[in-house]
C-alpha cells in the first residue's frame, strides 16, 4: 500500500496520531497526522493528499455509515483524523483548492431545543465539503434573515421536532420571502414531511442526514 492509501485507510479507521488509543489495534502506530506529514516530506502534492486520501477516505466513511456499518462515533473519529491532516496541508493548499463547494446555514427553529438531528446534518454536510454556519437551537426568523443577508448564496436548513414548532418553519420561510430573500430552504426533523415541505413552499426535505448532502448538491446544481 502506498502512502496515499495508508492515509486514506487511517482516515477510514479514525486513527489520528500515534498518541491516539483508538482504534485499539492501531494504538502507538502513526496516524493521519503523522502520515500526512510524511507525505508532505516526501513531496506528495497537498492537493493530492486532500483529494485522494482525506476526502476519498471520508467518502468511504460516509457510505459505510449509510450502509449501517459505522456508528456516528466511528464517523466522528474519522472526521477528527481527517481534520488533523487538514490542519497540516491547509497552509500549503492554494486558496482556490481549499474553497468549500458551498455554504449552508442551519438552525433549529424558534421554540424548539432538539438539536441532535440538526447536528448530524451539519456534520454530514461538513464531511461533504460544505461550509456550515450553525445558528443553534431556538432560532427566531430574524436570525435566519440576518444569516441569509450575510450569505446570499447559502442554502438555509431548518429543523423542527415538535408539532407545535413546525409552523415556525413556515413562518421563517415567509419572513425570508417577505424580506426579499430568495435563498433556497430545506427542512427536516421528525415532525416534517415532504408533504409539509410542499405546503410551506420549502425547496427540499430529507428524512435523514445522509440524504441531506445529496439534496444540497442537487439544489446548487452539483448533482442530478
Amino acid at each position: 500500500m502506498n502512502l496515499i492509501e495508508v492515509i486514506k485507510e487511517n482516515v477510514i479507521r479514525g486513527h489520528t496520531d500515534s498518541n491516539a488509543k483508538y482504534p485499539p489495534d492501531l494504538a502507538g502506530k502513526p496516524g493521519v497526522k503523522d502520515l500526512v506529514q510524511n507525505a508532505i516530506d516526501e513531496m506528495i502534492p497537498a492537493s493530492q493528499i486532500l483529494n485522494e486520501s482525506l476526502i476519498a477516505g471520508m467518502e468511504i466513511v460516509g457510505s459505510k455509515f449509510s450502509a449501517g456499518e459505522y456508528f456516528v462515533p466511528d464517523m466522528l473519529l474519522s472526521a477528527q483524523a481527517m481534520k488533523s491532516g487538514m490542519q497540516i496541508i491547509e497552509p500549503l493548499l492554494k486558496s482556490e483548492d481549499s474553497k468549500k463547494i458551498g455554504t449552508v446555514v442551519i438552525g433549529t427553529v424558534k421554540g424548539d431545543m432538539h438539536d441532535i438531528g440538526k447536528n448530524l446534518v451539519r456534520m454530514m454536510l461538513e464531511g461533504g465539503g460544505f461550509e456550515v454556519i450553525d445558528l443553534g437551537i431556538n432560532t427566531p426568523p430574524e436570525k435566519f434573515i440576518e444569516a441569509a443577508k450575510k450569505y446570499p448564496d447559502a442554502i438555509i436548513g431548518m429543523s423542527a421536532l415538535l408539532t407545535t414548532t413546525m409552523e415556525n418553519m413556515r413562518i421563517s420561510i415567509e419572513a425570508l420571502r417577505a424580506n426579499g430573500l430568495n435563498n433556497k430552504v430545506i427542512i427536516g426533523g421528525a415532525a416534517a414531511s415532504q408533504k409539509f415541505a410542499d405546503e410551506i413552499h420549502a425547496d427540499g426535505f430529507t428524512r435523514d442526514a445522509a440524504q441531506s448532502v445529496q439534496l444540497v448538491k442537487r439544489l446548487i446544481g452539483l448533482a442530478a
Binding site: P24, P73, L76, G136, N138, L162, T163, T164, N168
Partner: protein, 461 residues
C-alpha cells in the same frame, strides 16, 4: 433533605418484581391506589400541528377540552377500573406558567365531572418542561427560566394537578455531545455528577411545592439521556450496548428524586423504572408496544413486566379511521391492562409465567431489553446500592453493565454484531481510565473538551 439509599433492596427476589404490585402503593384523591394489585392505563396526548400563541390559545384550549372529554367517555364505556391522565406541558406553557395552569384546570375539572357523574376514578399527572435547557450553557439555579419552571409547578399544583413530574435535563448539555462521541467520561460526568446534583437541587424543591399543595411528587426520568440514546441506537447511530449502559447509569440520577421525597409513580418514559421499583418499592409507569405511536421500540413487551401504570407516552390529536388518536391509544392500553389484571387474579404462579412471556419476548433481541430482565435488574441493583456515593454508584452501574453484556454475548444470551463488540471493547478501555474519585473527574472536566458546555457554579461544583 436528601436521604441516602438503604443497602438492601425493597424487592430482592426477581419473582416478586412484576406488574401491578409495588410494596409502597400510592394513594390518589379520586378513589384508587396505584401499585396495589391492579395495572391502570396512563393516557398521554399532545397537540396536532399548531403554533401556540395568543391568537391560537382559544383553539389550543378547545383541543384539550375535546380530548379529555372523548378520553373519559371511552374510559367509562370500557369500564376501566381507573384512569391516569398525563399532561406534558409544551415549552410555551411552562414559559408562561399561567397557560400551563389553565390547561391543567380544564383537565382536572373534566376529570372531576366524570368522577362525580359516572364514577370514573382518575388522577392527573402534570409535567412541566425543563425549560432551563433553552439556553446553552444553561443556568440551572438562576435566571428567569428557572423561576418560571418552579412557578409552573406551583400554578399547576394549584390548578388541580394530582401528581407532579418532570423530565429534568441537568447534565444534558454535556451528555448530548458525549453521547454522539460515545465518550464514557463525559457520560459519567454528566450522569454521575451533574445530573445527580441537579436532581437533588430540583427535587427538594418539587417535593416542597408538592407538600405545600398536597399533591403527589411523582418522579423523574432519564429520558433526556437514556431515551435519546435509545432512539439513536435504534436508528443505528450509536451502539445499542452504549444505550444499555446509559440506561443503567441513569438509575442513580433518577433515584435522587425518591431519596428527596418523591413517592412515585415514576414517569412512563423512564425505562430505568423497574430498577427504581426494586430499590425503593414505589410503583412505576412504563410504556412499550402501545406507545409505538410515540416512538418505535425494541422493548415492546418487556417494558410491561413490572409496570403499575401502562402508558402510550404521547400521541397527537389526529383523526384516525375510528376516532381521535388519544382515544385509540386509550382503548389499546385498557385491553392490555385487562389481560395483566386478569393474570394477577389467577395467582402468583400464573402471573409470573405471564410476566416471563413478556420478558422472553424481547430480552434476547436487544441489549436494552436484556438489562430489563428481572434477575438482572435485581442483581445489578443489588450491586449499585452497595456503593457509597452517587458517583461511585454510577461507576458501578457502568462497569457492571459492561461486564454483564460481554458475558451475555459470550453465553449467547444476546447476539452482538462485530460493530457492537468492537465498541464494547472501546467502552471498557475508556472506563478503565475514568478516575475513581469524583473530585478528580470534576477537575479534569473543568478544563477539558466540555469546559465551555456547562457552568460549574450552577451545579455547585
Amino acid at each position: 433533605m436528601i436521604s441516602t439509599v438503604e443497602k438492601k433492596l425493597i424487592i430482592s427476589n426477581p419473582d416478586e418484581l412484576f406488574f401491578g404490585l409495588a410494596p409502597k402503593p400510592v394513594k390518589c384523591q379520586r378513589g384508587f391506589e396505584i401499585g396495589n394489585g391492579v395495572v391502570y392505563p396512563e393516557i398521554n396526548f399532545t397537540l396536532p400541528q399548531i403554533i401556540i400563541n395568543e391568537s391560537t390559545w382559544k383553539e389550543v384550549k378547545s383541543i384539550y377540552t375535546e380530548i379529555i372529554g372523548e378520553v373519559c367517555k371511552r374510559a367509562i364505556e370500557l369500564k376501566t377500573p381507573a384512569l391516569v391522565v398525563e399532561f406534558e406541558l409544551l415549552p410555551p406553557m411552562t414559559m408562561n406558567p399561567e397557560w400551563g395552569a389553565e390547561i391543567t384546570k380544564i383537565l382536572s375539572e373534566n376529570l372531576d365531572v366524570f368522577y362525580k357523574k359516572s364514577g370514573l376514578k382518575s388522577a392527573l399527572r402534570v409535567t412541566p418542561v425543563d425549560i432551563r435547557d433553552t439556553n446553552r450553557p444553561p443556568l440551572m439555579r438562576s435566571g428567569e427560566l428557572t423561576v418560571n419552571m418552579f412557578r409552573s409547578f406551583e400554578l399547576c399544583a394549584q390548578a388541580g394537578a394530582d401528581m407532579l413530574s418532570i423530565e429534568s435535563t441537568g447534565g444534558k448539555e454535556v451528555h448530548d455531545d458525549a453521547l454522539v462521541n460515545a465518550d464514557l467520561s463525559g457520560i459519567i460526568f454528566s450522569l454521575g455528577i451533574l445530573a445527580v446534583k441537579d436532581m437533588q437541587y430540583l427535587w427538594e424543591r418539587v417535593v416542597d411545592i408538592s407538600k405545600n399543595h398536597n399533591v403527589i411528587p411523582a418522579g423523574d426520568t432519564g429520558c433526556a439521556f437514556a431515551n435519546t440514546a435509545m432512539i439513536l441506537a435504534d436508528k443505528g447511530m450509536i451502539p445499542k450496548t452504549l444505550a444499555a449502559v446509559i440506561r443503567v447509569a441513569t438509575v442513580v440520577r433518577s433515584l435522587q428524586a425518591y431519596l428527596a421525597g418523591a413517592i412515585g409513580p415514576s414517569k412512563d418514559c423512564a425505562y430505568e423504572g423497574p430498577y427504581i421499583k426494586a430499590i425503593t418499592g414505589i410503583p412505576i409507569s412504563m410504556e412499550g408496544k402501545t406507545s409505538a405511536c410515540a416512538h418505535l421500540s425494541y422493548l415492546g413487551n418487556i417494558a410491561s413486566a413490572a409496570a403499575d401504570l401502562w402508558s402510550n407516552e404521547s400521541v397527537q390529536n389526529v383523526k384516525l379511521l375510528s376516532a381521535y388518536a388519544p382515544v385509540v391509544s386509550l382503548e389499546q392500553l385498557i385491553y392490555d391492562c385487562r389481560l395483566m389484571n386478569l393474570a394477577l387474579k389467577n395467582g402468583n404462579e400464573f402471573t409470573l409465567k405471564y410476566r416471563n412471556l413478556m420478558v422472553e419476548s424481547d430480552a434476547g433481541l436487544d441489549p436494552q431489553a436484556y438489562i430489563l430482565k428481572p434477575e438482572i435488574i435485581i442483581s445489578l441493583s443489588q450491586k449499585i446500592i452497595q456503593e457509597d456515593s452517587p458517583y461511585k454508584m454510577t461507576l458501578c452501574a457502568v462497569d457492571e453493565t459492561l461486564k454483564l453484556l460481554r458475558d451475555a454475548s459470550d453465553k449467547k444470551e444476546i447476539k452482538l454484531n462485530e460493530m457492537e463488540l468492537r465498541w464494547l471493547d472501546i467502552l471498557s478501555m475508556q472506563f478503565d481510565e475514568i478516575p475513581g474519585d469524583e473530585i478528580n473527574l470534576i477537575k479534569k472536566m473543568k478544563n477539558g473538551i466540555y469546559a465551555d458546555k456547562f457552568l460549574p457554579a450552577e451545579y455547585d461544583i
